[in-house]
């Protein structure tokens, strides 16, 4: 239920925004109409300039950079009559520029607007590739190619076939006929398909950021959104804080004691683990005397015993050193017993150095 309401609200909002946008797109032909065909007097975001109000020409430049070409055009049009330009894509290291020279009478009638878009530019974006259209509306008839080239019917070019031939297209292809309503419908579609570069070039130069234009509702909307966010955020935080505090109080005074007990439990657990580590690191070393006793049983004389890092080194002499090593290796409390140096004969006895590890097993015996 909530989802349906939300979808309905979103749909209403979209319709409202579409309506607002449609009213801010003005088509300037023999009159001033909005995107729905109604007569309009409001300030426009986009003014679509009727084909009868400009002359069109094209020129190719050997410049790849869009920015550099923009600078070139600025210089080239310095002091020239009001002209809109649109820079095309790079083809063979060149860019084609479309010039739309506005009729001087029309410049004064544009009024307040952010963008001025030539009608033929918007409509050609809706045509299929390699096609020609005949546009007939408000008493004007002109030909339009999908490449963007357009020409008012008259003079040598009176038919779509001739126009197609002049534009380098197949003259036998079927021509699209666009009436007033068709053209009106296609305008918004065409505007949506214009590339960002075209919008950048068609931004009306010298435009002032008049707060009375579209900025006021936008500013109001942003300010209202910000205020709503701050107020709702504060209310949420305040209410949640109060609820949590109430919930905490309802748990009773024993909570503090229990929290203290829990902290104590955590501390004691940690301490227990640490003490256990200390105790487990404590290895009794007196069992090394049992090792010495095993050696003595084999007639060994021990001159020195060292225990470092858990490893015992036994130095001494015996009638047969290997007997001593064998006895030690057989002890369950001994591991890794081996000679650490060559056994040497010293008179009737053998000198040995044996290293081993105490395992801690068999300490009771």
């Amino acid at each position: 239920m909530t989802g349906e309401r939300l979808n309905a609200a979103i749909a209403r909002l979209r319709a409202h925004l579409k309506g607002e946008l449609g009213r801010r797109v003005v088509w300037l032909t023999d009159g001033r109409r909005d995107a729905f065909g109604d007569v309009s007097t409001v300030a426009a975001l986009v003014t679509v300039l009727g084909r009868e109000h400009y002359a069109e020409r094209r020129k190719s430049y050997p410049v790849r950079s869009w920015r550099d070409l923009s600078r070139v055009l600025t210089q080239e049009l310095l002091g020239a009559p009001a002209t809109l330009t649109v820079i095309g894509p790079v083809i063979d290291d060149r860019r084609e520029v479309a010039f739309f020279a506005l009729s001087p009478a029309m410049v004064g009638q544009l009024g307040r607007t952010l963008w001025v878009v030539p009608e033929s530019l918007a409509l050609c974006a809706t045509l299929p590739a390699q096609r020609v259209a005949i546009v007939e509306r408000h008493g004007l008839r002109y030909f339009l190619a999908s490449s963007g080239v357009s020409q008012i019917a008259g003079g040598a070019v009176r038919t779509a076939a001739l126009f197609a031939m002049a534009a380098g297209l197949d003259s036998e292809q079927e021509t699209l006929a666009l009436g007033e309503q068709d053209a009106n419908m296609r305008l918004l579609q065409g505007l949506r398909r214009l590339p960002a570069g075209a919008w950048a070039r068609l931004l009306r130069p010298g435009l002032s950021l008049d707060p009375g234009l579209a900025w006021r509702p936008l500013g109001t909307l942003a300010a209202a959104g910000l205020a709503a966010y701050l107020v709702l955020g504060s209310v949420y935080l305040s209410v949640t804080q109060t609820l949590r505090e109430r919930e905490l109080k309802s748990l009773g005074p024993e909570v503090a004691t229990l929290l203290d007990s829990q902290r104590r439990v955590e501390k004691l657990s940690g301490e227990q683990r640490a003490i256990a580590t200390v105790l487990s690191d404590r290895h009794l070393t007196y069992p090394l005397w049992r090792v010495a006793a095993r050696a003595w049983q084999k007639g060994a004389s021990i001159a020195g015993v060292a225990l470092v890092d858990g490893r015992v080194t036994l130095r001494g002499t015996a009638p047969v050193a290997t007997d001593v090593l064998g006895a030690l290796a057989a002890d369950p409390g001994v591991a890794d017993a081996r000679f650490a140096a060559p056994v040497r004969q010293s008179g009737v006895r053998e000198e040995f150095v044996i290293t081993l590890k105490l395992t801690g097993k068999g300490n009771d015996g």
Binding site: L268, Q272, I275, R282, W296, L307, T317
Partner: protein, 185 residues
């Protein structure tokens, strides 16, 4: 010109509003959010301990008993200096009672094990005398001082012969001696 001034005044008002109202408000909200997070964690913990009341109390009792038992093997001196003096005296007494000579005693290191609540000193000492008595003292030191952990042992025997006899020997030991740190008494 009038419209331009109004526009500039409007921009100034918006900037002032952002600086003196919106930003402080936002900071206050951020502080309140942090406070709420802390409160929520406290609440979660409080609910948790209330639900586990019995388990927490019984665990605490068990751990305190176990900790007291574990601590009882370590001495609880008034200070580290007093512990060192007392330990040196006890080791000296064990050695002299056996008729041996404590030829060297040196404290080489001291430190703390904060997690365990223990302090320790590392001592290096040398005992001289008959081999038979040295073996007995070694066992007695480890058996009667449960807070002593031997790290290194070095035994040198003069004129060695098979078996425990009265041959003169020197036993050098490095050992850590642990005690309860002040905070844990």
């Amino acid at each position: 010109m009038g419209s331009r001034n109004a526009w500039l005044l409007g921009v100034a008002a918006v900037l002032a509003l952002l600086r003196f109202v919106v930003l402080p408000w936002g900071h206050t909200q951020a502080d309140a959010h942090e406070g709420l997070q802390v409160l929520t964690q406290r609440l979660d913990r409080s609910v948790g301990v209330t639900q586990n009341r019995a388990a927490i109390l019984s665990t605490r009792t068990q751990l305190e008993t176990a900790a007291a038992a574990a601590r009882s093997r370590f001495p609880s001196p008034p200070s580290a200096e007093a512990f060192r003096l007392d330990s040196q005296r006890r080791i000296g007494a064990i050695v002299s009672t056996s008729g041996l000579k404590l030829a060297l005693f040196d404290w080489t290191l001291e430190g703390k094990l904060a997690d365990a609540g223990l302090g320790y000193g590392r001592a290096r000492f040398q005992v001289e005398g008959p081999l038979r008595d040295i073996a007995r003292v070694h066992g007695e030191l480890e058996g009667s001082l449960p807070f002593l952990a031997v790290r290194e042992v070095q035994l040198n025997v003069m004129n060695a012969a098979p078996g425990l006899d009265d041959t003169h020997a020197t036993l050098t030991m490095v050992a850590d001696l642990f005690f309860l740190a002040e905070a844990n008494r």
